[in-house]
Symmetry: C2
Subunit: 197 residues, 2 copies
């Protein structure tokens, strides 16, 4: 059974990707419906029929971005080796991800600030951020349980430092820092976690 009525004239997933690009570059407020319709090559009614209103579209875009980001985390953190190596690789990967040629600079979730008057968006952004943060905490605790942390370094403290660095890297990327600079910082920060010998 195929769909009834006139078929959609554009690919929904492609359009969603285009919206992702637009929101990632310009943020929620600065991206107008006109921006989107022009970039996607469709009319406003098509956009509204496919995605609902602007807020719903943005939330769907956020979910897409988040899914990709988590997929990336899963990959780099899947390494069986000592946790410290995995975290180091993750940080380096994030530094590179934030400075990928052809993609907007920085992290869509970490540097994005939702407008006041959009508490739903603010809450969702905060939720996603704290979700990543919690993931880091879990990683550090398993590392601690495995005896990979020095006595005087609490896992939550270490997780907070790593998380702070991730946020800072995102902002610096947005400000025009190049890939080499971000990589350098990602490497240096790992010296606060001396390899257990």
């Amino acid at each position: 059974m195929t769909a009834l009525g006139r078929p959609r004239g554009f690919d929904r997933t492609v359009a969603l990707d285009g919206a992702l690009q637009a929101f990632w570059e310009q943020g929620f407020e600065s991206t107008s419906i006109t921006d989107l319709t022009r970039r996607l090559g469709i009319g406003p009614p098509s956009l509204y029929a496919a995605f609902g209103d602007k807020r719903a579209l943005f939330l769907e875009v956020l979910d897409l971005y988040y899914a990709r980001f988590v997929e990336f985390l899963d990959q780099t953190l899947a390494a069986p080796s000592p946790r410290r190596d995995a975290i180091a690789a993750m940080l380096l990967g994030i530094a590179r991800f934030y400075s990928t040629p052809g993609l907007p600079k920085g992290c869509m979730i970490n540097t994005m600030t939702a407008p006041a008057g959009e508490p739903i968006l603010q809450a969702r952004l905060a939720e996603l951020r704290s979700s990543v943060q919690a993931r880091l905490q879990r990683e550090m605790r398993t590392a601690a349980d495995a005896g990979e942390l020095p006595q005087d370094l609490q896992p939550d403290t270490l997780a907070a430092v790593i998380w702070t660095t991730v946020l800072g890297l995102s902002m610096r990327s947005r400000d025009g820092a190049n890939r080499a600079e971000l990589e350098s910082t990602a490497r240096s920060i790992m010296t606060i976690w001396p390899p257990t010998r």
Copy 2:
């Protein structure tokens, strides 16, 4: 010689401080002229006569905030003691400044993102940020010249790490991290700079 004509019915510096508060909390776009006039208790013509348009007011507010921030930096960095102690004190002070009760959370300059379509504001924000960053670089170089840095730690690399941390602390504060958490991160990060013994 006093001013001619009807005197202004409000204190300009007090109003500027009110605008600072508003912009700091809500950002440029989310703060409407109506918000400002309501908060300051004045009408739109008074506001426009005193400060020019919204963009000019924001720029003046930025300058005020920056001046205060630099004044704070000057104070903490004036300490004659080893540079490392001064930087540690500065980081701790920033962590506290970003979580001062009664003030908006985070840094107005570091977490503020100007809307696309306002290149002047974007440029000014970037300029102020890179100015602080340059200040940190200078501090680290003098520390290096004084032999306070270990051999394998480049001053610019260290400055980048500190700066990344400052940016990250600002974001975390904005996300609701409490003062103790920020202080903890500020202290931990200094372990990448071992005291020269």
